[in-house]
């Protein structure tokens, strides 16, 4: 780089950071050009000194969903910049963001389809040969079609919270309407299902009412089982920024281990599973002392009780037991009954159970009782990956709702997500085994009629899929028992991320994964590819156009900036190429099934239009679900069945490009499409981010806090009592330690991307088992020693450390799950929450021996 250019780039970079630090983020001529792939010219200097083109995008990694501007020169990405116009991150990126270009450029990208001819080579790094797309697609379609026509209970698709929205929508339509199958579930089952079930139970609509901007106004932060420093770094930075602007702002970190998120916070370490008791303790304090928000309770809440003594999913037949079939049943209750049920959760009892001092519990409870304080609760996997994960979500809402601290600026309860589009795709387009798009479910007749109307299907066509399909753990359990013939996945790495891999990878006496015909869409060779019969090379991130929906309901588009390598293709193309082969000859009524479902975007052997126009066309159909007025038959059903589908209203496609992302519901007001920062809150105009249109259309004005929970029956969310029930397994003499798993900053999820980025991998090159000093000493283990970790499920080797990046208390150990070399999920239990079916990755009893 010539000196003048170097000085220019450096001064530009510094000016941008200075503006961001000073809170005056601006766009700089010549360095932060207009988006949309426009030729930037060189407003601030020589045109050769800047990127040829800059594209708007969204980070590929976690659920924060940071906006990114991608600079391209000669078809190569040469710069990344936090997008100051994307309100989710306001120009900030974490250190993974710096490496986004390298995400595409590692040497071992998959560039041609691969086929395995000899199943005995499964589980090895050999056995795959190169093939043409035609051969690979024909083979996949032949196997899928044969299974579909013979016994479609023996096929499944495992989708993803990393698959772009339009691709996920097309996939759901193919599987649910094309194949008439609910044998599809996303990897979000492993991370978000407990949050989803609780949202639906309490509010009858998925996803948070609040937004990230609430961080800037909160007085108190409570992190429940959430290591935001490592897993949601840009939000954690925003949280720290808030604390630094006002020293009165408090942060309480509740968890079973001490993490970097604990630094600067009051850290309350509790015994595994007792978080429910702590939340009930807060509620008990509020109701026993009449310190709840009486107006909020009177105007907005009802009370329920639920089924108890649910046991745990040790046996494959657990879901079929009467107890679990009825586990979601609730009964109407009252504040008085609720008070009596939480009464046992005194400070003293809860302290004894949880290990948190009574005085600290009282301090926490008094925060909720203080009507002047704005409290933001955040939680992630400690709450969701829990044998009572749905219950724990309920319990956090119980505390916030009783205190009247929800859906208000700076004040709410916020479930964070771990993937870039767990919300936008996995949850919103219907890739769960029980769902249809836009919060609709297969078991509800009105929902099926509505979906048929959007998809122009004959009335009753979807009745065949009215029974829920199998959830993820059931799919893998059944596959390991030889009950599957066809399995297809994309944008995930199940051979690393699933619990109980000892069973699911056929390492025990089961060998189902070997016999099942497995298809994997991937960008890099992963452990899952080693079990695949066909590997289909996928375009990733900005090699194609797509959309992500993040944790705060923000939908953003990422533009295609560069071409994919070799013969790699985007997922939507791959899915539809298989779909047209499988549906060849199939009819819906008198019409060709494939043309009926996908003729609006596909003709002959390819898309009708380019990627932008294809995405727009798919989006416009998907948008009908939340904009029923776009189609008369749909609008009639929305009115007749009182579905209130505009509660998730989405905007026309171009609005997301123009606005660098929008928070749904998006309302058209005076010709402008405006997002919603606070759902159910009519405390201000839509222009200021309030849900003015939603409340006016469906809700009631003049209620406490100007709120109206218009999606919930009777407009009253339920405070549902959920008791403490112990973890499925607890340490004993044979397995004396709790094993907690999780994520660390540099390596994202299963490491299939980040292990290929040299610096991220050099910074965190291997998974380590974090162990308490005293425990290490008692076991004769020094930092750096190899140890063997064994549970009743399986065993693995790993290097131990007493480093303080993670500080487990005595009797607990922690390891991240990214490493294929230390496949920690070999030993993790596959016990799941009975309501959400989400596995508990946080509480496996293990023993530790020096290897």
């Amino acid at each position: 780089m010539e000196l003048t250019r170097r000085n220019f780039v450096k001064s530009t970079a510094v000016a941008m950071a200075t503006a961001a630090a000073a809170g005056t983020a601006v766009s700089f001529a010549g360095c932060s050009p207009s988006s949309g792939g426009t030729n930037t010219g060189g407003g601030g200097g020589d045109s050769s000194m800047v990127a040829d083109q800059t594209y708007t995008a969204v980070c590929r990694y976690c659920g924060v969903g940071c906006g990114v501007l991608v600079g391209v020169k000669d078809g190569v990405i040469i710069s990344v910049e936090g997008d100051p116009e994307n309100q989710s991150n306001l120009g900030a990126l974490c250190i993974k963001g710096q490496s986004l270009a390298q995400l595409l450029y590692a040497d071992d990208r998959l560039t041609v389809p691969l086929i395995r001819d000899d199943k005995s080579t499964k589980g090895t790094d050999g056995g795959l040969r190169e093939a043409t797309w035609e051969e690979a697609l024909d083979l996949v379609a032949e196997k899928l079609k044969a299974t579909w026509q013979t016994d479609k209970t023996r096929m499944a698709f495992w989708a993803s919270g990393q698959l772009p929205i339009t691709d996920g929508y097309v996939l759901a339509k193919f599987w649910k309407a094309g194949l008439l199958s609910n044998n599809i579930d996303p990897n979000a089952r492993l991370c978000m299902a407990s949050a989803v079930v609780a949202f639906m139970n309490v509010f009858s609509t998925d996803e948070p009412a609040n937004c990230y901007a609430d961080i800037d106004e909160a007085d108190v932060f409570i992190t429940w089982g959430a290591n935001m420093y490592e897993a949601h770094p840009v939000l954690y930075q925003r949280l720290v920024g808030r604390k630094n602007t006002d020293t009165n702002v408090k942060h309480y970190d509740l968890g079973t281990i001490k993490t970097r998120t604990s630094e600067g916070a009051k850290t309350l370490i509790f015994n595994p599973g007792t978080d429910i008791a702590i939340a009930n303790c807060i509620c008990n304090y509020l109701v026993a002392n009449q310190l709840y928000d009486e107006a909020f309770v009177s105007d907005h809440l009802k009370f329920q009780t639920g089924m108890t003594d649910l046991g745990n999913a040790f046996e494959d037949g657990y879901d079929g037991t009467d107890v679990i079939k009825n586990s979601g049943t609730t009964a109407e209750s009252s504040l008085e009954e609720f008070a009596s049920l939480v009464a046992p959760y005194t400070f003293e009892y809860t302290a004894e159970l949880s290990g948190v001092a009574a005085a600290d519990l009282e301090e926490l409870a008094k925060l909720f009782a203080d009507k002047s304080l704005k409290i933001m609760s955040f939680w992630t996997m400690g709450v969701n990956q829990h044998n009572r994960g749905t219950w724990m979500n309920h319990c956090i809402y119980n505390a916030h709702l009783l205190a009247g601290k929800y859906a208000q600026p700076g004040c709410g309860a916020f479930s964070l997500t771990g993937q870039p589009t767990a919300c936008g795709t996995a949850r919103e387009v219907g890739t769960f085994s029980h769902r249809l798009p836009a919060d609709l479910v297969v078991a509800n007749e009105a929902h099926r009629r509505y979906t048929e109307a959007v998809w122009d299907l004959p009335e009753g066509y979807l009745d065949e899929i009215q029974a829920n399909g199998p959830h993820t753990v059931k799919i893998f359990r059944d596959m390991s028992s030889g009950k599957y013939d066809f399995f297809w996945s994309t944008c995930n790495n199940w051979a690393v991320s699933m619990p109980n891999l000892t069973r699911f990878l056929g390492k025990g006496d089961k060998k189902g994964i070997i016999d099942t015909f497995v298809v994997v869409n991937e960008v890099y060779p992963t452990l899952s590819c080693q079990y695949a019969d066909v590997v289909l090379p996928a375009a990733m991130w900005v090699e194609r156009e797509g959309q992500f929906g993040n944790a705060e309901r923000r939908t953003s588009v990422f533009e295609k900036a560069v071409d994919p390598p070799g013969e790699a293709k985007w997922d939507m193309w791959i899915i539809l190429q298989v779909a047209r082969r499988v549906l060849d000859g199939a009819k819906i009524g008198e019409e060709d099934a494939f043309s009926k479902l996908f003729g609006f975007i596909w003709e002959g052997d390819d898309f009708k239009a380019d990627a932008r126009e294809t995405c727009k066309a798919v989006w416009e159909e998907y948008r009908i679900f939340s904009n029923p007025s776009m189609k008369a038959s749909v609008e009639a059903l929305n009115t007749e069945s009182k579905l209130k589908m505009e509660a998730k209203q989405l905007a026309p496609y171009d609005e997301y490009l123009t606005n660098h992302g929008l928070l749904w519901p998006v309302r058209e007001v005076d010709g402008k499409w405006l997002g919603t920062s606070w759902r159910f809150n009519a405390g201000g105009p839509q222009e200021a981010g309030y849900d003015a249109v939603g409340v006016e259309t469906y809700g009631e004005a003049g209620k406490a806090g100007d709120l109206s929970f218009y999606k919930t029956a009777g407009m009253k969310p339920a405070v549902c009592f959920r008791p403490y029930e112990p973890p499925a397994l607890s340490p004993d003499d044979e397995y004396p330690f709790w094993f907690v798993t999780g994520r660390l900053l540099e390596q994202w999820h299963t490491g299939s991307n980040t292990t290929r980025i040299p610096d991220l991998n050099n910074t965190l090159p291997e998974a380590l088992l974090y162990i308490n000093d005293a425990d290490a000493s008692a076991l004769g283990i020094a930092s750096g020693d190899n140890v063997r970790v064994t549970s009743q499920y399986g065993t693995f080797e790993i290097k131990a450390t007493t480093d303080k990046r993670v500080e487990p208390p005595a009797g607990r150990v922690f390891a991240p799950f990214f490493s294929t070399d230390n496949l920690i999920n070999l030993a993790v239990e596959d016990i799941y929450c009975p309501l959400s079916k989400e596995p508990d990755y946080k509480k496996t009893p293990v023993k530790i021996e020096k290897a």
Binding site: M1, A13, M16, A20, E81, Q237, N244, D759
Partner: protein, 88 residues
């Protein structure tokens, strides 16, 4: 050179300590301080080295978070090779 700009957020009361530590790291230049936010640039021969430096910033005592604002890596050897490949 690979050039990037970042904001290093310190915990309250530790900004001077963090700034001093940053000033001692090769390739890092401190440009300004806004409350607890310290604006720095990193210049390095490769993206990998640049990332090593930025990753190390996280480890400095008193640092709460490191946020990347802009990174230009067109001089990174891997990117240069791709650019030359694209041009040929």
């Amino acid at each position: 050179m690979v050039i990037s700009s970042l904001i290093v957020e310190s915990h309250a009361g530790r900004t001077a300590e963090v700034r001093s530590a940053l000033a001692g790291i090769g390739g890092v230049e401190v440009h300004s301080v806004h409350g607890n936010s310290i604006v720095v640039s990193i210049e390095a021969a490769s993206l990998s080295i640049s990332q090593s430096i930025s990753a190390a910033l996280v480890q400095i005592p008193g640092v709460a978070a490191v946020q990347l604002v802009y990174a230009n890596f067109e001089d990174d050897p891997q990117i240069q090779a791709k650019l030359k490949g694209a041009a040929s």
